[in-house]
């Protein structure tokens, strides 16, 4: 389990930002770092929670949601960013809004070497695909950063990703 004992409520603060921002669909591939946020979304009757088999499904889901007038958010681990690459051409070509919340692996104190290549490539891959990238290191910055990304995504018709860093989430205990 992850741990950030002093500011453990940052996932709840992010959830509040999503609610204030009118997000009505949340696609996700589960990650331990997102477990609290997923739990909140699943418990909310006004949010359609959509568990995905692969992260690129969520990119297409968000496009369809916007075509129908709904805002969507996409939750994933950094490994999932690599699964999104071609589908992000849908987002960029049509200028669909897209809010991605990415829990990072393969960086701060990583135990599993298999996580490192994609974790180290995450930011560059997103930027190559035209996604604006923001990074959160401290719990106090989480909600504000997500809110800024949400605003630029839905008001600016852009894709924006917030990287929730491994330092923020806490090391995975093995």
């Amino acid at each position: 389990m992850s741990a950030a004992p002093d500011h453990a409520d940052w996932p709840d603060q992010i959830f509040a930002v999503l609610k204030r921002g009118g997000v009505r669909q949340v696609g996700y591939v589960p990650d331990a770092g997102h477990s609290r946020l997923i739990e909140r979304c699943r418990a909310d009757g006004d949010i359609a929670d959509v568990v995905l088999t692969t992260e690129e499904e969520g990119v297409a889901l968000a496009a369809g949601a916007w075509l129908g007038g709904a805002r969507a958010a996409l939750l994933m681990q950094s490994s999932g960013v690599g699964n999104c690459v071609n589908m992000l051409s849908l987002t960029q070509n049509c200028r669909f809004p897209l809010l991605m919340l990415v829990t990072m692996r393969g960086e701060w104190g990583e135990f599993n070497p298999w996580q490192v290549p994609m974790g180290q490539a995450t930011k560059s891959v997103l930027e190559l695909c035209g996604v604006l990238v923001y990074r959160v290191e401290r719990p106090d910055d989480a909600a504000e950063t997500v809110e800024a990304a949400l605003d630029i995504a839905f008001n600016g018709d852009r894709a924006a990703a917030v990287l929730l860093t491994q330092r923020l989430i806490g090391r995975k205990r093995w």
């Binding site: 959509v50 297409a60 949601a65 589908m87």
Partner: protein, 189 residues
Amino acid sequence: MLDRRAAVKLLLADRGDLLVVCGLGAPTYDAAAAGDDDRNFYLWGAMGGAVMVGLGLALARPDRRVLVITGDGEMLMGMGSLATVAMKRPANLAIAVLDNGVYGETGLQPSHTSGATDLAAVARGCGIPVTLEAADDQALATVARIIHESRETVFARLRIAADDPPRVLPLRDGVALKLRFRRALGLEP
């Protein structure tokens, strides 16, 4: 075997307020040949994403019927999305796969459905509640009716002849397609 153009034309005849998402390649040309419409969203890329665009749309607009029209190659690339759809089972979503067992856009190379893969069985196995097949006009008429009237998620495999009819190319500017679709739903750009 069905003629793809005639099949899509039948699916879209008397469409009412149906919203349509088309997978890249021939299904997009088929829908354009049946008559362009602001409520058609054509994919020219994003292979494997058609069903998920349809799911997002269906969840956003439960008051409208949504039909995804795609091919076997595009569906194979996004096969997991059938499992994802089955978790939500939107009553207003139907998926029609034009299955000719070949990749038509790239020179009629055989796809997996020319071998052992049965996409209707895949959809059924994923848990899509209504899975149908049609290979002749009579069965197609039944499928079309169910697509328009079902109160459960529908997956239909339409067995079409493996040909490559003349291309009918609709608008391909993604922003323009998005804006006209949203405008047709009364949404702000």
